[in-house]
């Protein structure tokens, strides 16, 4: 920051502080940094913010996790409930992800019905869980055509500073890994879930996840489409395009999405995939540390 202030101070006719410049011309301010290969928060263009994962932060939920990526904090809680299956899929349970971006996490969101962004992220997570077959829904069956488990996956954003999709997906996967459900008994139309004693391996079960997809997002800045990894809120608001690559632990792709900005070359997409492979590896070691 010091260098920018110095260079501006050198022009005698018209001077103002760096923070005024940032407020007046956010894009131009940002461009000055990018031309030097760094970002205003000190990161390189392709570096990510510090990420942490904590499991089991909500004791009343069947599974939960808290994820921090820089200034973005999300908490995911999973609640298992007994429900009636659909007529056309009598042996399949339900996965219902929902992302909540309330005014508590950022002034950019208004109270009331869910914002467009919250709905879009919920839908993206739902599709990844469903179409990449993260979990066999038949594992959630208690008694065919009578009772199944419905997993309510609620992601609450506590503090919003960009890149919500990555943070939400990590928290969902971490919470799914954390899920423990007490073994139910089915008898003549009544499902009994025993309570009381502490949860142990005998009286509960874990989910059998076939894969753990994790995502890496980038934004495209300016007309020359400079790639910025893990954007924060300020970066998201001055860029138009976003690329997200979701990869499982074997390096197979689960989702690629490129929305907005001008057409990008396929070599740029390849670059994103390569970078996402490394990042997903890093994320997995962070998740395993706990």
């Amino acid at each position: 920051m010091a260098s920018t202030t110095d260079s501006l101070a050198a022009s005698p006719a018209f001077t103002f502080s760096a923070s005024t410049f940032q407020k007046l011309h956010p894009t131009e301010y940002f461009r000055k940094f990018i031309s030097q290969g760094v970002r205003p928060d000190g990161r390189l263009l392709d570096s990510f913010r510090p990420t942490t994962v904590h499991y089991g932060v909500i004791t009343t939920a069947n599974g939960s996790a808290m994820v921090r990526i820089g200034g973005t904090t999300v908490v995911c809680g999973i609640k298992a409930e007994v429900a009636e299956p659909k007529l056309d899929s009598p042996d399949q349970g339900y996965l219902v992800p929902n992302v909540d971006l309330s005014p508590i996490c950022s002034s950019a969101f208004r109270p009331g019905s869910p914002s467009e962004q919250a709905q879009v992220v919920s839908e993206a997570i739902h599709r990844v869980l469903k179409e990449s077959k993260v979990l066999d829904l038949k594992d959630l069956c208690i008694e065919e055509a009578k009772a199944v488990w419905a997993l309510w996956i609620d992601v609450v954003c506590v503090s919003y500073d960009g890149n919500i999709y990555d943070a939400a997906l990590i928290s969902v996967m971490a919470a799914l890994l954390n899920v423990r459900i007490r073994k139910p008994t089915y008898d003549e139309g009544i499902v009994k879930v025993p309570g009381g004693e502490a949860i142990n391996d005998e009286n509960s079960f874990k989910l059998n996840l076939t894969r753990i997809p994790l995502s890496t997002s980038f934004v495209l800045f300016d007309t020359d489409l400079t790639l910025l990894a893990d954007p924060n809120f300020a970066e998201e608001s001055i860029t138009q395009g976003q690329i997200s690559v979701t990869i499982d632990e074997h390096g197979r792709l689960c989702r690629i999405s490129k929305v907005g900005a001008a057409s990008t070359s396929q070599s740029l997409l390849k670059q994103c995939i390569e970078r996402a492979k490394i990042r997903s590896h890093e994320l997995r070691s962070i998740m395993n540390q706990q």
């Binding site: 839908e123 690629i256 057409s263």
Partner: protein, 251 residues
Amino acid sequence: MSRLDRTRTSAHQLRPFFSSQNLLNRSDGSAQFDFGGSSVLCSVVGPAEVKLRDEKLDKATIEVVARPLVGLPGVKDKALEQNIRESLEPLILSGLHPRTMLQIVIQTMKDDGCILSTAFNAVILALLDAGIPLKSILGSVTCMIDAQSSEILLDPTTEELSRARSTHVFVFDNKSSVQSEQGKMNVDTDDQEAGTSSLAAVLFSDSTGMFTEQEYFECAHFCFKASQAVHGFIRTAVQKKLEKEYQQTQA
């Protein structure tokens, strides 16, 4: 290999296209686009009065409203709205109409798979019909990878999609396709080595399921080739419409 819908013979064949423009009276532009049994109607109003809350000082505000065939608009429709709006924003010369609104309404009329692609093509035809200044036109094609045979099927039906391992939606604009054609002539050998048309720039991509990097770029390649047919179709549709309008002014 014959397809499940029995009307097509090849995996890379698209369903017949159909389009008509200027069907609606109350909107400034409208178009319907069909991919076989899928059909989307789109209307465009603008530049028009903008709500004070949405007003932008340097460009037009673009609003996209998507409505499903059955039921109330849900999360899926919101995702479709966002995808279309953000892909169109760089395409529309919105700086020419500051402090106005451009409203795009998308209505699914028939659903037999590939609604997102059909909607993209309908929207661009409606924008052309409304006379909205555009940087380029776009064409969209969907493909899927079959879970059993791992074969790439273009423009799948709902029945085929139920057997998909992954689905891929691509949008290419006509600017990038011109570039890649020129590129092909110059660096033909490079292109063949890569095995994909690595020069075709992607305007929009949305893939979900399970797939490898190689499969993804193969899908991009086939969709790009097929999107050329869509581009050609859109160009002919506009040409025919203009010819008709010219004849009417002469008569």
